[in-house]
């Protein structure tokens, strides 16, 4: 057991408070850059975050090199998803028919509010007051916990990372590793304040044990259980859930009532398609060959109930967006986040949205183009996300396309609009351009000024300015090769 002994130990959250995420200003645009700057101002957190996620990326690469058919698998996974999405109505109805035949109650929810009220009704009918659940990005998207709290239902997250985030009152910062932005000292603090563990003991085994001791009785006594789903198999009506902690199995098997909340894009046609996706999912996510638990739920246990809530919440609309529909292929592995150099240095909470990182940049604006209008600009368009994506979503190209859409919708800052208009005008006119670049007595030739000027002269904050040369290439050319045009 390791104990904190000194306040100046690297990573001690006593000297480096945990950075918090983006400030939520209602419908006003999230300032991802501002939140990222605060994350960077906590170097222990930033370094741990960057290195941890980079390690996951490297492990993913090792898995890739262990499978000669890796690129074929990506092509197949993409094709299966595109096929399913192109015939979504057929497969949804097939799933419903087969699930019903298995004794499952199937519900359809058009949006978050409908989903939450369906869940609430199902709980009410059984008189359930406590709900244990495994991790689900969809329930985050729907704000389920807050709605159930209002209805007097206590929700207990059973995934360790998700439980840490719940106890800390924070959203998950990553789709697979929800508390990856925290140091273990942060977790010790949260647990000390919420489940009464020793604040000075940040040994991960101790922390996991303390959480287990505190949560197990709640799990054993819960009235109802909820899981998400990684895959829905249309031809069998089966729900497939992948976890590493086995917590989804507890949620599904201990209480008599099992509710599955799932987005309609999680369908695959056949059981044999799992051979592709199960092999890709954990390899892409954590660089492990498979999750510890891959559980197939086909129907209620004897004397129990199983409900599946199929949730749209904007997905049909996204399916109709020519440039963005393939974002629905996403299997939520988080590989794009792990590889993203911006995400690793910003922390997932800087995005101020349910989905962070590259996939978030292209999904979040479909929920609220104004609120998430800055997100597609929080990218260098480097394209690494697209290359690691196991279902070949052209993420960086969709980020680029979103920028154009947001400019068309006027969801961009005035200063940027003005600068780009001015730059476009200068660069369309050779004589004006020439006069602008070759004004010599300025500290900075004004060509980069259009790129650099944003009122704060942000380039120079953490970087030196470029050194303007004595003459431009054009001037050199005229002087040295003047006759040759």
């Amino acid at each position: 057991m390791r104990k904190s002994t000194s306040d100046d130990r690297p990573g001690n959250s006593k000297i480096e408070p945990q950075p918090r995420g983006a400030r939520n200003k209602g419908n006003r645009p999230i300032d991802q850059a501002e939140a990222a700057e605060r994350f960077l101002a906590t170097p222990h957190h930033q370094k741990q975050h960057d290195e941890r996620l980079w390690t996951l990326r490297q492990r993913r690469d090792d898995q890739m090199w262990s499978m000669p058919e890796w690129e074929q698998m990506r092509t197949l996974a993409s094709a299966i998803k595109e096929h399913t999405l192109s015939h979504l109505d057929t497969y949804l109805e097939m799933f419903e028919t087969n699930a019903k035949a298995n004794g499952v109650v199937v519900h359809w929810a058009k949006d978050a509010a409908e989903h939450n009220s369906i869940v609430q009704r199902v709980l009410e009918r059984r008189g359930a007051r406590t709900l244990i659940k495994s991790k689900s990005m969809l329930t985050e998207e729907c704000g389920l916990r807050a709605d159930l709290a209002k209805a007097g239902v206590e929700v207990i997250e059973t995934d360790l990372g998700e439980r840490i985030q719940q106890l800390d009152g924070e959203d998950p910062s990553h789709v697979v590793v929800p508390a990856v932005h925290k140091l273990r000292t942060d977790v010790a603090k949260v647990f000390a304040a919420t489940i009464g563990s020793d604040p000075d003991n940040d040994d991960p085994h101790h922390l996991a044990g303390a959480q287990r001791d505190a949560t197990r009785p709640l799990i054993l006594n819960a009235d109802a259980g909820m899981t998400g789903a990684n895959f829905l198999v249309a031809e069998t009506g089966a729900v497939v859930v992948c976890t590493n902690e086995g917590n989804a199995d507890l949620c599904a098997n201990i209480p008599d009532l099992h509710i599955v909340s799932v987005g309609i894009e999680k369908l695959i046609p056949r059981s044999e398609d799992l051979a592709i996706f199960v092999r890709m999912l954990s390899r892409s996510a954590l660089g492990s060959p498979i999750t510890q638990y891959t559980s197939h739920f086909r129907g209620p246990r004897q004397g129990g109930e199983m409900h599946v809530v199929l949730v749209d919440n904007g997905r049909s609309e996204r399916l109709g967006m020519e440039e963005f529909w393939t974002s629905l292929k996403c299997i939520r592995c988080g590989a794009c986040m792990n590889t993203c150099p911006v995400y690793r240095r910003s922390g997932g909470l800087s995005y101020g949205a349910t989905y962070s990182g590259p996939i978030g940049l292209i999904i979040d604006p479909t929920f609220n183009a104004r609120k998430y209008s800055n997100l597609p600009f929080a990218s260098t368009l480097n394209g690494s996300c697209t290359s690691v994506c196991p279902v070949k979503i052209n993420i960086h190209e969709q980020i680029y396309a979103w920028r154009k859409v947001l400019v068309r919708k006027h969801e961009t800052p005035f200063v940027k609009r003005a600068a780009m208009k001015a730059a476009g005008a200068v660069l369309a006119r050779p004589a004006v351009y020439r006069a602008t670049v070759e004004r010599t007595n300025e500290a900075l030739a004004s060509l980069p000024r259009f790129a650099i000027y944003n009122g704060l002269n942000a380039w120079g904050k953490n970087r030196e300015m470029p050194h303007p040369p004595a003459e431009t290439f054009h001037q050199w050319f005229i002087k040295n090769r003047g006759g040759k045009r």
Binding site: D61, S387, K461, R463
Partner: protein, 247 residues
Amino acid sequence: MKIGLFIPCFIDAFFPEVGIATLQLLERFDLNVVYPPDQTCCGQPMANSGFETDASGAEALFVRNFDGFDYVVGPSGSCVHHIRHHFTAVEQTAAVEGVRARTYELVEFLHDILKVDAFPWARFPHKVGLHNSCGTLRGLGHASASELREPHFSKPEALLSKVGGLELVAASRPDECCGFGGLFSVFNESVSAKMGSDKVQDFAKAKAEYIVSADSSCLMHQRGCAERDNVSIKFIHIAQILNGAGA
């Protein structure tokens, strides 16, 4: 073979030595290299930021300047990536499509079109870290990317391996973006600068004396970070090494 020399705006304004090296290098291969003096920019800064309509003037001018050449060659991967893949602010006429198809980044022109097998005039006895910009790596396919399961290849490495005395050293995160990203560098300044500092540190740990790239924009950004962080590492464009700088 008549070549249009494309000198992107920021190379014209900040890195004339890169333009000069490109011109001189191409002329070593007995090509008829022409510099259209009315050129400005390919339109990338506006289009990359979403302001595609503001790029239409620059794109139309680009086509007027470079129509009629056998090839258009420029020493900037990200600009050529824009021209090849994103140059859609103007109507796609036959002239526009022709110019887009005939525009090459310098490394790929030397490697794929001229198939240069020697640079006898070049010698560069230094440890050099190669920075593949994201535009050249994942946009133009200069090299195999570390994220994909594909056989290793690298056009810039193949060219640099023909330069006497040059020793390539590798960064530990070979394909990590350096964080320039156009307007990203100012609107997301803190993350951009951190990425640049990390990149420079990674090369410094590999004991690189120089960082070489086919993109001056990445080099401008990394140099700014290195100078601020007091990391003594030098920056040079691949055109300069191939043209015999330091020989």
